[in-house]
């Protein structure tokens, strides 16, 4: 019996738009999904750009009118510039479409909450692009923590550092717009999402935002002031009582993907870095004396959903596979109508932390995390 088709409408065909398209296509093949994603319409800023992308990515139709597209699809996947996320998502929700939206959902927590409320009211399934959390090794890490394998987690360290803004002559861009949010919103949100994924809700934060490169070329021969953070650091207090820290930087020269995690528990510890994301390092205090050490565990079929991609351990999955796992989770939720763990409410929660850190940076002291309820 043929599976029910789910028509996908994708907005944007840059880095992330392409990753969405590939993700849906691969998800359909490697996961035993209850529905069949159909690459229906691709929208971009011009007809021409949309047409070229649709052809290469396998979409049936191309358009420069994303609003017009809403009537023709079941799901809207938003990979447009951050500033447009809210408008597009609300329109899609209003049309009754399920929505996948890249992070950050919106520049303010209040906007994110509005989006989450609208989605809930409309009864549609939503998801935010926290693809790193779809990694089999981070899922294993979470299971290890929850299962008590490292005892009670007491200390956490999370980092997300890259260097795509390290060059002082990298031009001013939409990412430097205060509405966009800076390094913390752009990639620190990943670090915050991972922290909560592994250790539960964050109760309060104390942070600082730092602008390292105060002005950048404006593309017209002059320079334009940068108001957003290049580096952000925060201390965290989890609801569980555990404490920790996160750091975000997009000026970390030499780093392309330092999404690092260290979790210390009373009877063990976990280390992870996205730089080698097919590995997880586990320490168990009850290994025999003289034989203790961090175990380098390689990803394999024992770590779902790794086995969906290949049955052979150590063969490794890639970034696009993480995105496929993300899209598989979204489509499964769409099929069942069930909740998606990384939906708009979760995205709003992370944005709430981003804002709380910003406020702490301005005011100096600890700031309570906003209540989880959207």
């Amino acid at each position: 019996m043929a599976k029910r088709g789910v028509r996908i409408g994708l907005i944007g065909s840059g880095f992330m738009g392409r990753a969405h398209a590939l993700g849906y296509a691969t998800a359909a093949r490697v996961f035993d999904l209850p529905v069949e994603p159909v690459l229906a319409v691709l929208a971009d800023v011009t007809e021409e750009a949309a047409r070229r992308a649709a052809e290469s990515l396998g979409f049936a139709r191309a358009t420069a009118d994303w609003r017009g597209m809403l009537a023709e699809v079941d799901v809207v996947s938003i990979a447009a510039p951050n500033a447009l996320h809210k408008e597009m998502a609300l329109a899609a929700v209003a049309a009754g479409r399920h929505v996948h939206c890249e992070k950050p959902l919106a520049p303010s927590h209040a906007d994110c909450q509005e989006m989450a409320r609208a989605a809930r009211a409309a009864g549609v399934v939503t998801q935010v692009g926290f693809n790193y959390l779809c990694n089999p090794m981070l899922i294993a890490a979470r299971d290890i923590v929850r299962g008590g394998e490292i005892g009670e987690p007491v200390s956490y360290r999370g980092i997300h550092a890259e260097d795509y803004m390290a060059d002082p002559d990298a031009p001013w861009s939409f990412r430097h717009d205060p509405a966009g949010g800076g390094a913390l919103a752009d990639i620190g949100s990943h670090a915050l999402a991972t922290a909560e994924f592994l250790c539960g809700p964050v109760a309060r934060v104390r942070g600082e935002l730092v602008t390292v490169i105060p002005e950048r070329p404006d593309g017209r021969g002059g320079r334009r002031a940068v108001e957003v953070d290049d580096i952000a650091r925060a201390h965290l207090r989890f609801a569980s009582g555990a404490t920790g820290s996160v750091e975000a930087s997009w000026v970390a020269t030499g780093r392309t993907m330092q999404h690092d995690v260290e979790v210390y528990g009373t009877r063990g510890a976990l280390l992870f870095t996205q730089e080698r994301f097919n590995e997880l390092h586990l320490y168990a205090s009850d290994d025999p004396l003289g034989r203790r050490g961090f175990r380098r565990i390689e990803a394999g079929p024992a770590h779902p959903p790794y086995g969906r991609f290949t049955p052979a351990p150590g063969h490794q999955i890639g970034f696009n596979d993480l995105k496929a796992a993300e899209m598989a989770g979204f489509l499964s939720a769409v099929a069942s109508g069930g909740p998606e763990p990384f939906g708009f409410a979760a995205g709003a929660g992370v944005q709430g932390l981003v804002e709380a850190i910003g406020r702490s940076s301005r005011e100096g002291g600890w700031v309570e995390a906003p209540a989880a309820s959207a």
Copy 2:
């Protein structure tokens, strides 16, 4: 203008068959191919198995009759058990089809040569599944060696070790059949292919084959003798005069993918391991004193075809992406009718080395590599 479609017929839907199907689908999306692969027919041992696989992998039709399929496709992709490779490939070639065949092509060098000759006579494009060589970092390594960046390469070390046969109670299987070839043919062939990829043709070899586990459960309560090698080691003399070694093992407890390479030149060196295959380690003697060291280079758009998969460095590709790059190379050759670097002749060359090592193991001394001409 629509691209010319190339109809794919896939035989086999296990680990490798699935990887082929995913590879074609991803290749079509991420590479700007001159043709469009069409997943036309999937053949497997039973109609039922074929039907299920075709549905999940997106093939239009399923069949249990691989011969019947030949008339309906342009390309045949062979991922069936090794013992059937030759028969299938020759039939496909005879039907004028382009053929991709998993390694080893056939258990004997003579058989491989026969296959290569037949393909050449028929004027079809062929390829053997040396997917590791499609890795951007090994391509970069080859370019570094060829470009003289490490001076004259003088010493080589290659390993391919896994542990899927390490358990003495792992049952006797088709891989233990003398016709199948053992660890050297199964995975040592990768180590040999990489050696020649980086340092050019091997001129002579001296090797030993070792059976570690002399008998295995036969599945009927008894045990059956194992005649093939569990471990193989060989010294190599390259045509260039450089020397080296390779080792293959499928009983390397704890290893899932130790495809390691070390190349030492007169002015630098390269280290690579498939365990972290998005990295390459390069040493340059002309770095300043006190500042020399192996550089851990992370895969990025500067290492084609990495950028086809994602524009962001450090995000990493996975095993299935290597397979997609392999299929892209095959389809490009199909489109142009041009030669494919890892065609049947190359496969025969590697099998010739496998046999030469086997003969050296029996006879004790050095053995010349068979002439490259098929």
Copy 3:
């Protein structure tokens, strides 16, 4: 011509006392010192303990009366429990002796300053045991930073984490006495010293101290409250304008010596971990595209004073060698009467940061670092 002898009086023969004795002996042999250290007197709590240690460590005389020893020596090396440091150091200074004292100098910044003032007034040479800073690779790191090889340093991360207090049943000890200071004073002081060594003075801090294990066995069947920090975290603002963070933990399960450093500059970066302290990782933005990466530099004669220990690169020095290098620096200063970079004033400076972090933890906001002048 025989060198002038410098008579050493050592107080304490535990872990650190032994390291001092070995350090002096090795320093005399591997460094071309202007003076000859003479292991004269070893003082410990009992005559018997002192006698045994003196014999094994090669001291000429043993005593239980450290005060009486002051008249017989030129230099006093203090490796007694922290609570006694101040009294001993002041007495030694008053007697006109040069003094090496383990860190922390004293539990309060004011006490440390008093010690530094007394030493300066007496015109004696002092040193505090920041042995990690004597590592050739950290010295190279400092030279790289100062020489502008990584451009302007903009971001710093420092960690000192071990697990010797991770077991909740590890008994209450003198280290848990509020006067002792907790993890921050005990090992976080190393992280702070390294931060200033590499990036210059810290101008202000914002920190938090966390007690993870609120009570510990008191050795008499009961439990005793722990008031000191098990974990400390702080944000740093350097006088240069660079920002960073440090973390100290003695409950980091699985870690025995995570003294990690990351320095990001505008044109490069440095990574270091004491876990592999004969290595330094250097990234240079001006390496060619596609060939950039962190270089793993191995310690060798190009990194003084490594060559003092062995002329062969890659052979590695050990912890006791770091201590020997530290003692060599101290003895050289004693010989010349010149200043020692890690003297009491420096120790007071670090203790000032420790206190400032403690105050920030209680008060919540940023705290200025005390002025450097003692």
Copy 4:
């Protein structure tokens, strides 16, 4: 009660002579030795060189007459050029002195055997400088193998590669003299010693010796032919039935101390590299599924004799400490008159393997290892 003094006479004060002197001095302090080494006489080629070295290293007397020294000492430590080892050692043995001699003992197996027989006849204690085997982590590795923790060892890989001869313009030296032996004798001997240390006696070998740089500057404006091996590779068959390989190279550009070991057993595996010699990596097949991986074990007091140097795990020992442990073993044997595991007979055994590999290289096939009995 004072310990019996053992007067040391050291011949040579270069790299290794210095390491001996430091080794004795440190051994006396950190090991609880039954005797007290006394640095009595240092002999070198000139009085002046000897005097300077004696002063810096703490020897009581200096001489240019090593023969004359024999009457004044109990132990002779030979760190002179390789070509003089035999003459010196035989003279020392004839004088009834215990002898420590650097490797290689002598350029031929027969010479080594003669030395071992002479020492046995004279009843003196001997030792050869296999310092790497004194490493706590290799001792732990041996105990793990012997204790069956990795099951039956079936496969071995050993490497000793450095790059001190990688520069083609490095001048011809005594190490290039055929009597000296080349890379295999110089450092491959370490790889062979480690192989037998971990997996027991080698029964037969098949090897090849390669000269990469055929002539080198002779220091007088011309060039001189090199007849010895720059690289050596061998396949090994252990008496136990296990198989393996070793490789030695002194032209491995970028490597300063690649003394690598991999041991694969039926239920586990061990990895070790001297590049990080305070670590050992252990894999255990019976760790739970999904939690298996190589454990990075850090050296600590659980790995004797580490605790002799420092009680704190993870603080690390250095190369000179390995030498101290070696000297401690020697002095203990001297004190007890008992056998030393790495005595001349063991040195002769390794040299026998070196020669067997050389013969195999000339003749092409397998060569039996000489009988162990000297």
